[in-house]
Amino acid sequence: MSDLQDLYQELIIDHSKRPRNFGSMNDANRTADGFNPLCGDKLKLFLKIEDGVIRDVKFIGAGCAISTASASVMTDMLKGQTIEQAASLFETFHYMITGPKDPQHVGSGLGKLAVFAGVSEFPARVKCATLAWHTMRNAISGKTEAASTEQVK
């Protein structure tokens, strides 16, 4: 059971049951949908970006504990970050759960995102942990493509 506890850390269970920033946003200027066709997990992400800074972020959706907690923690972390910082955070996060193991530096610079380190031992669950992040990247990249408040698909 110890490795299960590595995966389902208290913080993850807490965020999955009481997701932060859960709800829709009327004045979002970026939205994107995330969908995992393999499991049916769905997510809609709302971002308010001003001058390259994420001012507010919310999400709605239904998913497993890992994907819900990941979205919840991500939205907490993204507020106040620049787009560049958000992209770099995603890269560090993605590397932590998919890259080669480096016990010295696990989760360094990731703050509470480090609780997702255990996901690396559960390859079948990596997509659950990254769904919200991929959706965030799509939402943000919509800016360069459309440069408008249109919904990004």
């Binding site: 059971m1 299960l4 269970i13 499991c39 049916g40 497993c64």
Partner: protein, 419 residues
């Protein structure tokens, strides 16, 4: 083929001995995450007995050659074994002739063959195709594509809250425009056994054909296509202890003969000139190219194995096991059973509290228990029951009550984690 005289004796006298049969399945004897494997994902794919594995090895070690070009000894052997397997399938399904047995890659390809060949030739604008609300995507999408292409209408026979096919609704939906009815024999997501005999009878009264998706049925109950009088019957080898990559389409001879070929190339022709090609006879008309010889032969071995165990004994044993599993799960606080039809086979889908099936699946996996967690390629069924996914335990004759107990015990652990 490996006979199991001891097993046969047991079956005839006291039913079926799962512990003895388990010894025939090498894969079952291993630990997963440090716990003895409990394999409860048989509706996804079944494990393979030694005799099936041996058949594959023997073919590649001794007989490998192309078929139907029998100048040399090996080709003759390969051809004989390949065609022998076809007659095993014929007898297994109760078909009148081996020419009515078409090898495909699996149920999905079998259904696609029917929609592409029979469907394109026989379904037109304004016609109707009937399927049920509990079909696997493989028995939805090919019909959707056909109907879209032809301007035909796809109609859905509803199911009730227990996951039962509604015969009276079906009767109302049948019309003179109905060209074909396509239903599964057993639902992969719910385990419901459908009243296929009545479905066929009612369809024929209106002049419609019937295709039965037997993927989830053949490993659990005796199927007799002549007695059912269905026009097509499809199944996959890997769901009945055979290898992946091979499956069967049964069709009535007259219907198959009238159908245009689906794929073209070698083996499906009698004579080719640049001006005209004469197609081969059944079943080769539908088997273009070098076929999946080894897996067809191993499918034959799998069906022989099932025959030796006996489908009657299998059915009785699994009915008891499913009843036990259902009873234990139903008694577990927080469990919601999905699929509670009166007549079921070997599948129990459920959810626990508000725990997502994937989280539950991960907890079970860490205890060595393999289940399916997801939508089971039947998203409309999930929608019907207002869930995005379920956990599905699906059984074979090598599963035991002790394994069901381990499944249920692990649910306590899941509740502790997610409490």
């Amino acid at each position: 083929m490996t006979a199991h005289p001891a097993t046969l004796d047991i079956e005839r006298t006291i039913g079926l001995d799962p512990e003895a049969l388990r010894r025939d399945f090498p894969v079952l004897h291993q630990e997963v995450h440090g716990k003895p494997l409990v394999y409860l994902d048989n509706a996804a794919t079944t494990q393979k007995p030694r005799s099936v594995i041996d058949a594959l090895v023997r073919y590649y070690e001794h007989d490998n050659a192309n078929v139907h070009r029998g100048i040399h000894e090996l080709s003759q052997r390969a051809t004989n074994d390949y065609e022998d397997a076809r007659t095993v399938v014929q007898a297994f399904l109760g078909a009148a002739e081996s020419e009515e047995i078409i090898y495909t890659r699996g149920t999905t390809e079998s259904i696609n063959l029917v929609t592409a060949s029979w469907g394109r030739a026989n379904v037109g604008a304004g016609d109707e195709v009937l399927i049920s609300a509990m079909e696997h995507h493989s028995n939805i999408v090919p019909w959707q594509i056909l109907c879209e292409e032809k301007g035909a209408q796809l109609k859905i026979v509803p199911i009730n809250d227990d996951g039962e096919f509604l015969l009276d609704e079906y009767e109302r939906l049948l019309s003179d425009r109905t060209r074909i009815v396509a239903v599964n024999h057993v639902s992969n997501a719910l385990g419901s056994v459908n009243p296929v005999r009545e479905i066929v009878k009612l369809a024929h009264e209106r002049g419609a054909l019937v295709l039965i998706d037997g993927a989830q049925a053949v490993a659990h109950m005796k199927v007799d296509v002549r007695s059912l009088d269905c026009d097509f019957y499809a199944f996959s080898s890997h769901k009945i202890f055979g290898p992946t990559g091979i499956g069967i389409l049964y069709g009535k001879r007259a219907i198959l003969e009238a159908m245009p070929p689906c794929e073209s190339g070698g083996d499906m022709i009698k004579h080719v000139t640049f001006e005209k090609t004469i197609y081969n006879d059944l079943p080769y008309k539908f088997e273009a190219g070098t076929p999946n010889i080894a897996d067809a032969i191993a499918l034959g071995a799998a069906l022989r194995y099932v025959n030796n165990v006996g489908l009657e004994a299998i059915g009785a044993y699994e009915e008891d096991l499913l009843a036990y599993a259902t009873e234990r799960l139903a008694a577990f606080e927080g469990v919601r059973l999905i699929g509670t039809a009166k007549h079921k086979a070997s599948v129990q889908s459920f959810n626990l509290d508000s725990i997502h099936p994937h989280d539950l699946g991960t907890v079970l996996d860490r205890e060595g228990i393999a289940v399916r967690a997801g939508h089971h390629c039947a998203q409309p069924v999930m929608d019907r029951f207002g869930v995005t996914a379920t956990v599905r335990a699906s059984f074979a004759f090598y599963n035991t009550r002790a394994e069901v107990d381990r499944l249920v015990e692990t649910l306590h652990k899941a509740r502790e984690i997610f409490a």
